[in-house]
Symmetry: C2
Subunit: 654 residues, 2 copies
């Protein structure tokens, strides 16, 4: 319902006027993709993060970290980000303008489909189908995109099929699509260059010599992986467990657009949940298994379709639509978090990544996508990173990043082992003894077998390369390869990682769209219906007019609210009471307490609720206690109205 | 007292073992000046920031912002940081090693004074005077610094005089000191290069073309200044008011040392309080005026002395030791914040900056310095930035960053004004009309007078340069300069800014030193006595041993604590109860609830307090309510002990 009536430009005006956010450096002309949060946005964000911390970190005893943003290049080379964390861009060589290739193809094809729709229908019907009506069409026309041209039915179907899997194309494939469908620079009509990769990390250098290259982290995850050993120790070596981190990350987007949805600097909240790869069961799965979720699996998308399956998570895991219990558990926890802060569950889905769009470190990934006026937006990723990160860092640094678990009973195994005859070995190889021993002890089963075979075939001798890179001759006098029986008391494994990763700015913007509506019959009166837990301010305090005698009860009220830990705001400006209530509704403040002449006479005040605009009138002490319980979510406004008579406020001209 | 017995390496071991913090990227060999906070450090930091937000932002209705870290170069050129935000460095040209010049001079002279002390005293006395005893000496000897050489009395006095004002030397002056006192590269003895400036900002570039240069912000202040106009609007145009911001800032330190005290990436909390330059009085000054503070004014330091004056802030402002009420008010608020979170007031002083050490934007500055084993450390700066920042940004962007205040009654002033005869002006100058008008209307009083005089002297005509850079002839027919009487209804001014700026990492480290002690008679038992408000965990929950029957009461306890919003931690490891209490003391957790066999029998548990190690035993419900009130700081442990009998725990071997 909200979606139908939604007017984005009105919302944006409201958000700017009430200082939720603003383009950063605007007095300097601004920089695309950088935004500042004002007092309201900042409070909303803090409340969302606080809810997140309670819902995830405290509820499940996660180990929270605060790691650095500046990261040496070596770490991100190992993690694969230097090579693979890139988007495809192409350039209009005549103007120098740069486009992100997938967004360009998507925009042009969408524009052509819109033009087709126009051509196929009456003008009026076309306008009704387009939520922003005439205005949007005009904007598009400026860019020369929407022209009423009917497409062949087969072409239309092709476009729709491509768009359903737009995230699945590689750069060269996007280049082919651009050729095949004659996609040019939208404003100039110039030919574009072939897509080339552009790494999305901001680069810098650390220290005064300029020799240590660094990047701003593109995710908060790496700092958590690098601390795995200490985290496991801190957790008394128990598995499974999770670490978590809230902080800024950076992506040097090619051409940021869509406001808060695609920015160059953003707050993330990430969880790395470490599990035994042999069992991804979750101890609390039973608590969530009956929750219904809306899923869009990869297989459906690859068929060019977008219908959602509504299914309990229990069934989804049983049918292997969702791979395992831990992944399923987190999908539900994500669902519960998003709906708790006010996301409309009807406009929330989980979409599985297709193989080509998956990040280089992931083996499976489900995105929580929220529907906004920009379409379905990825707001939370929930990836199975397998043992990828811990393995690559461990190989690179030679630091063991593993779990060691005592086996319930020892395991007896037979295994080929290289035995070294120390005395002969040392005296023959001298300085070479150490590098050769290092080489030999690192051999796995198959390599040891090969060494044995080669040595036998070669008359009991063989040349090997030591860890110092030099070649040495090894003889059967020095070394033998024997089958030995080993009793293992400990199992050693690299944990797999399930990673729910939250883009806080995207969630916040989507929430603002979902919370926004206008009162019937009065287009000017916009409301942001945030749940009380995340609303920037819980309570407005205002005098009905500017009389000096209201000052004392006002101060009393605010100091009492502060004592109760309830964030409030005074509005004693000279605007009419109606205008100030309206302003309050635009800030999303759920309650307003008004001091008037009767307050001075009998110590009562009125309490107004934002969504119903209904009011009650009681003694100050009673109202304070009610507000306290409403904020703590111990009672609801409906319950308050059952017990207290609705009061009809007489507005006083000022 | 704590200072005397303090053993830094034991504290550092504890902080590492309990994962308060750790060098970042340590499995990659680490990067100097970058640290990660573990779960305990992260919780401690979050609690400090939460206290800060309540103490400053909520208490005084400050407008909190969250601005971007990435900042275009133009902004930081205007603010002066590109030119002036630098330290002096010199280089050992043979080894390539780089030193920060002031730290080098300071270190060498301190080393020589220490050598002198050694030479003047008996070895045993010398050791007692050096808090870390033999170990420290040995370390220093490795670097070849401390050699027992007696200095002449006059040289010793010179060194002490220099060290008292070490922050006041420019680069060339440091170069002269190095020559005069023969200061070389400490380890190699090589000559060093002359000090050169090194800018401390991390550089990067924004966007795919690489053409937009950016820096990571060196302070959170600039984002606040750039939003001044919106902030003032949001505050209904009322003055004075403050904005605030908590966030990461970056300084590419030349050679970071001293652990958390000098790092390259750090969390700051900054307040920008905007005041009328004509009145820096503060409405709540009366509330703080009797607070005694310990001050070290610039004049005292310039005499080479370091004695503190203990004085009420009221008297300090009256005597102009502290410039104005607003500055004085914030010094006390800073004092109250720091002591609330656990900083020892005996080891806290306010030191005024000397003119050369002041940041380029400041006209006065007092640092809150905390005494640690590294000496007195600047932890909070409280600067008067005057109208510097708002003025430079306004001049650069032509955006007015001013306050407009209705005057109580209009002010009549006479003023020279350039009057343009539009008709003649336009027809004569044509395309030049606009640039010439822009030039003329921007003239100030003196320039207008000069124009009038020059035109009269020149027969009624004159050449001027328009804003387009071209020259035009202007005649008295087109332009006249007249004295006019103007009635001003509005006063327009650029506010001054008082800026309390908190280095959270430094405060946290100092707090950990102040909170640290070891129990009498048992050197192994270290304690971190954090106030309950900032302690990472409020309550430990533990079973006396590993019996299965303790599981249920344990779970009951933790879920009840969670419901009360009290952050707790379970320790059901197999270590003895004594060891687990000791571990708890090292985490700084104020209380521990223990489940034992009697719990199963009669529903009672014990409650142990960290600092006294005393315990009481009561029913679970009673203990939970006590803990709840202790955490809310409604009662003290002393009050609990008055009402409840001390219980003597029988330790059970495991």
């Amino acid at each position: 319902m909200a979606a139908k009536k939604f007017d984005r430009s009105s919302l944006e005006q409201l958000l700017s006027k009430r200082f939720f956010y603003t383009p950063a450096f605007s007095i300097y002309g601004g920089v695309a993709g950088l935004y500042d949060y004002g007092p309201t946005g900042c409070a909303l964000q803090a409340n969302i993060l606080n809810t997140w911390r309670n819902h995830f970190v405290l509820e499940e005893d996660m180990l929270e970290l605060d790691c650095t943003i500046m990261t040496p290049a070596e770490v991100l080379k190992t993690s694969g980000h230097v090579e693979k964390f890139a988007d495809w861009m192409c350039k209009d060589p005549k103007t120098g303008e740069i486009f992100r290739a997938d967004h360009l193809v998507e925009g042009v094809l969408e524009g052509r489909l819109e033009g087709d729709k126009l051509a196929r229908s009456e003008p009026i019907a076309a306008e009704a189908a387009c939520p922003e009506g005439a205005k949007k069409k005009k904007e598009k026309k400026k860019k020369g995109a929407v022209v009423a041209v009917k497409l062949e039915d087969s072409v239309k179907a092709e476009y729709e099929h491509i768009l359903a899997q737009i995230d699945n194309y590689s750069g060269p494939e996007l280049g082919e699509l651009m050729k095949k469908y004659d996609i040019k620079s939208p404003e100039t009509g110039n030919d574009l260059t072939e897509p080339v990769e552009f790494n999305l990390m901001f680069e810098s250098s650390i220290g005064p010599t300029g020799q240590l290259k660094g990047y701003l982290r593109p995710e908060t995850a790496q700092g958590q992986f690098l601390n795995f050993k200490r985290l496991l120790e801190f957790n008394n070596d128990r598995m499974p467990f999770a670490s978590a981190q809230i902080g800024k990350s950076f992506r040097n987007e090619i051409s940021p657009r869509s406001g808060l949805l695609r920015v160059r600097e953003f707050t993330m909240a990430e969880i790395e949940h470490y599990v035994d790869p042999l069992s991804k069961k979750h101890a609390r799965f039973a608590e969530v298994k009956d929750q219904v979720v809306r899923l869009l699996p990869a297989s459906v998308q690859l068929e060019g379709r977008t219908e959602l399956s509504e299914i309990t998570i229990g069934e989804a895991v049983e049918k292997k639509i969702v791979d395992n219990e831990t992944l399923g558990y987190f999908l539900v926890r994500i669902y519960l978090f998003l709906t708790k802060i006010g996301i409309n569950p009807e406009r929330l889905r989980f979409r599985q990544h297709m193989s080509n769009e998956m990040a280089h470190y992931a083996c499976d990934c489900w995105d929580a996508e929220i529907e906004t006026s920009y379409g379905w937006i990825e707001c939370v990723g929930c990836a199975d990173r397998s043992a990828y990160d811990l393995t690559v860092h461990s190989v690179k640094t030679k630091e063991k990043l593993v779990v060691r678990e005592a086996l319930p009973e020892p395991r007896v195994i037979e295994k080929l082992q290289v035995e070294i005859n120390k005395k002969v070995f040392g005296s023959k190889l001298k300085r070479g003894a150490k590098p050769v021993e290092e080489y030999l002890t690192a051999l796995d089963e198959a390599a040891a077998q090969k060494l044995k075979d080669d040595m036998a075939a070669n008359g009991g001798k063989i040349n090997v390369t030591g860890t110092d890179g030099n070649e040495y001759e090894v003889t059967s006098e020095m070394v033998s390869v024997e089958k030995v029986t080993i009793k293992e008391h400990v199992r050693e494994y690299t944990p797999n990682v399930i990673e729910p990763s939250f883009g806080i700015g995207r969630i916040m913007y989507s929430l603002m769209e979902h919370a926004y509506w206008t009162r019937e019959g009065d287009e000017q009166r916009s409301v942001l219906s945030f749940p009380i837990g995340v609303a920037p301010f819980k309570c407005l305090v205002l005098p009905i007019s500017n009389q000096a005698e209201f000052q004392k009860p006002l101060q009393n009220l605010t100091s009492n609210l502060r004592r109760l830990g309830i964030s409030s705001k005074i509005d004693d400006s000279s605007a009419s009471i109606g205008r100030r209530y309206a302003r309050n509704d635009e800030l999303g403040t759920p309650y307003a307490i008004t001091v008037d002449f009767q307050t001075v006479a009998d110590g009562t005040v009125t309490l107004r609720e934002r969504d119903t605009t209904k009011q009650i009138r009681e003694k100050v002490e009673v109202i304070l206690e009610l507000v306290n319980q409403l904020v703590a979510e111990k009672i609801t406004w409906e319950q308050v109205l059952e017990k207290h008579q609705v009061f009809v406020q007489q507005e006083v001209a000022n």
